[in-house]
Amino acid sequence: MTVTTTPNTAAPTRLSAALAAARAEGRAALVGYLPAGFPTVEGGIRAARALVEGGCDAVEIGLPHSDPVLDGPTIQTADDIALRGGVRIADVLRTVREVAAAVDAPVLVMTYWNPVDHYGAARFAADLAAAGGAGCILPDLPVEESGEWRAAAAEHGLDTVFVVAPSSRDDRLAQITAAGSGFVYAAAVMGVTGTRNQVGHLAEDLVKRTKAATDLPVCVGLGVSTAEQAAQVAAFADGVIVGSAFVQRLLDAGEDEEAGLAAVRALAADLAAGVRRR
């Protein structure tokens, strides 16, 4: 199968535009993640809106999965709550639609390959585009297996964001970034999602090597949870991705939804200030 990657000559996607806007301001972008259906579908929609209200430039909506092998305990817990609550793919798509309609920021879906594969790659791409989604991150779909998905995504104007890791050799970085679009997700550490006390020293080297391979913006995720860490990463990357720290705010708030939303907004504002620190 011949797959055309998103050509640079086409109009920039919403995701590219959002990252370019941050760059034009001389700062890194802030990308926030929350799973759909957590703590409820409606509550998840409000929480995702709060990410942008607080200052995120782009949103990743997680499609919860029964086997989140790349997630640490925090996101596992959230996925578990969402799935026990009965969240379906239709609810995830509705979350994307309502969030995309309410905020001025690109909305991506992040999930594992099997739910998308089972739904049908072409059908998922069509429905995600129709819902106003901007693209997809599928961290267990390696570039070698991604042809069908990328063809479907390209047909519907969706970006495909690939993950690179500190263990990725330079030749693979070239191969992966050539296939991806929107931005490149650089995993700061070798490990699963979750907050960490320190951003790994591996991140800066990985960003440097990735930038040598591509003109795509490079955003760093895994383990970033504070404004201090965001500022540190913003010094060498085009964007900062934060997930577990937002999930933890909602878990800490428990039944008190307003407190949870306020905590999400406050953290987003804090991180947004971090990526603007010079």
């Binding site: 999965h65 029964s66 086997d67 989140p68 092998v69 790349l70 640490g72 596992q76 578990d80 799935l83 379906r88 793919i89 390959w113 099997n114 739910p115 998308v116 594969d117 089972h118 739904y119 961290p139 267990d140 779909l141 390696p142 070698e144 297996e145 690939f162 993950v163 690179v164 890791a165 500190p166 263990s167 990725s168 050799r169 693979r172 992966i176 995993a187 550490v189 070798m190 490990g191 699963v192």
Partner: protein, 428 residues
């Protein structure tokens, strides 16, 4: 009986595909490590010293070749068909699992890694891994679902006795599926020092091929033993399938023998018409779980459905991709065996032959009894007795009421009833 050599040797292809099944669906962080395993395995295969060392371990440590046992009294329960057991239960550590573990332990040493992680369901793979790590001086961590640490407590003690750390996994269904998830999480974080010694013919390429290759010795020995013993090939080869490693090990040598039926027995739990089973090939559909495309138990949204089996080793909603391929091509057939059928077969083999099988292997025995009645008294049926039942005495004692408990009626049929029925059918 015709022999067709055209199919078996060709799979998987270079990308790890058995037809449309298999592949490598893994996070980028693991790509380098999995490629290293594949490259090192190819080098090892070409190295006579590797083969010689593994062969010596198989012989002097495991005790290979394992015996082939005629079970005449048990055969009486199958309408007289001649049943032969391939005695993997007699291997060191008590199951077939050691075959793969020794191969991968040698590979771990070749790769210069110092730590091994493994998942385990029944604990047999965990015990074998802990054993090899003791032998080779490797650090060992075994992930085991919390439910399984309870029903296979003896094996937890064995692993700890051997120096392994056993981590009880409390996420998800708290069984084998979630133990694998947790092992993958560990591997991503510790990949520089650590080899994931995967225990079945599933997972990303090259694991389905490599684990199969390390278990092929079962079928190679058994085929020669059956020919020598009976002067012919068996009519059918029967094995239990969870992830599918013991079945692939005994099936593989027979794949070109197109007249030999290959029969996998999967765990039907409380019945395939209930929600509590692990009959992946009977009731599942193709999807991606744990790094490969294969049949799996999943819902309409592609979420994995929790499986159930009385046997921890078969309690898995996935299956190795080569089995999916063998099913779709029709070369092998898969039939469900319920908890109750397996437990009856466990009791029957114990009472007629003095061999206590693992509950996993008892699924194959139940399948063989059924098949024997279908094929008639002239049939020869080879069964892989993949493990011994010592580890299952807690479950069996509860199921049959074997322990003295003043508050409870014994649930087991009397030993005389079972033995007499067997004797009558055996014509004694």
């Amino acid at each position: 009986m015709s022999t067709d050599h055209s199919t078996a040797a060709q799979v998987p292809d270079a990308r790890g595909y058995f037809g449309r099944f298999g592949g490598r669906f893994i996070p980028e962080a693991l790509v380098a490590a999995v490629e290293q395993v594949a490259e090192e395995y190819e080098k090892a295969k070409a190295d006579p010293a590797f083969a010689a060392e593994l062969e010596a371990l198989n012989r002097d440590y495991t005790g290979r070749p394992s015996a082939l046992t005629d079970v005449r009294r048990f055969s009486g329960l199958a309408g007289g068909a001649r049943i032969l057991l391939k005695r993997e239960d007699l291997n060191h550590t008590g199951s077939h699992k050691i075959n793969n573990v020794l191969g991968q332990a040698l590979l771990t040493r070749r790769m210069g890694k110092t730590r091994v992680i493994a998942e385990t369901g029944a604990g047999q793979h965990g015990v074998a891994t802990a054993t090899a790590c003791a032998l080779f001086g490797l650090d060992c961590t075994v992930y085991m679902g919390e439910v399984d640490t309870q029903r296979q407590a003896l094996n937890v003690a064995r692993m700890r006795m051997l120096g392994a750390e056993v981590v009880a996994v409390k996420s998800g269904s708290r069984t084998l599926k979630d133990a694998i998830n947790e092992a993958f999480r560990d591997w991503v974080a510790n990949v520089d020092s650590t080899h994931y010694l995967f225990g079945t013919v599933a997972g990303p390429h090259p694991f389905p091929m490599m684990v199969r290759d390390f278990h092929r010795v079962i079928g190679q020995e058994a085929r020669a033993q059956v020919l020598e013993r009976t002067g012919r090939l068996p009519d059918a080869v029967v094995a239990c399938v969870g992830g599918g490693s013991n079945a692939m090990g005994i099936f593989h040598e027979f794949i070109p023998d197109t007249g030999v039926r290959l029969v996998g027995c999967e765990a039907a739990g409380e019945g395939v018409d209930t929600s509590r089973h692990a009959a992946t090939l009977t009731k599942g559909s193709p999807g991606v779980l744990h790094g490969a495309r294969s049949y799996m138990l999943q819902d309409e949204d592609g979420q994995t459905v929790e499986s159930h089996s009385i046997s921890a080793g078969l309690d898995y909603p996935g299956i190795g991709p080569e089995h999916s391929w063998l099913k779709d091509t029709g070369r092998a057939e898969y039939r469900p065996v319920t908890d109750d059928q397996a437990m009856q077969a466990l009791l029957q083999l114990s009472r007629t032959e003095g061999i206590i099988p693992a509950i996993e292997s008892a699924h194959a025995l139940a399948g063989a009894l059924e098949l024997g009645r279908e094929l008639g008294p002239d049939a020869v049926i080879l069964v892989n007795l993949s493990g011994r039942g010592d580890k299952d005495m807690h479950t069996a004692a509860e199921y049959f009421g074997l322990l003295d408990d003043p508050g409870r009626e014994p649930g087991a049929p009397s030993d005389r009833a079972v033995a007499t029925e067997a004797d009558e059918k055996a014509g004694k």
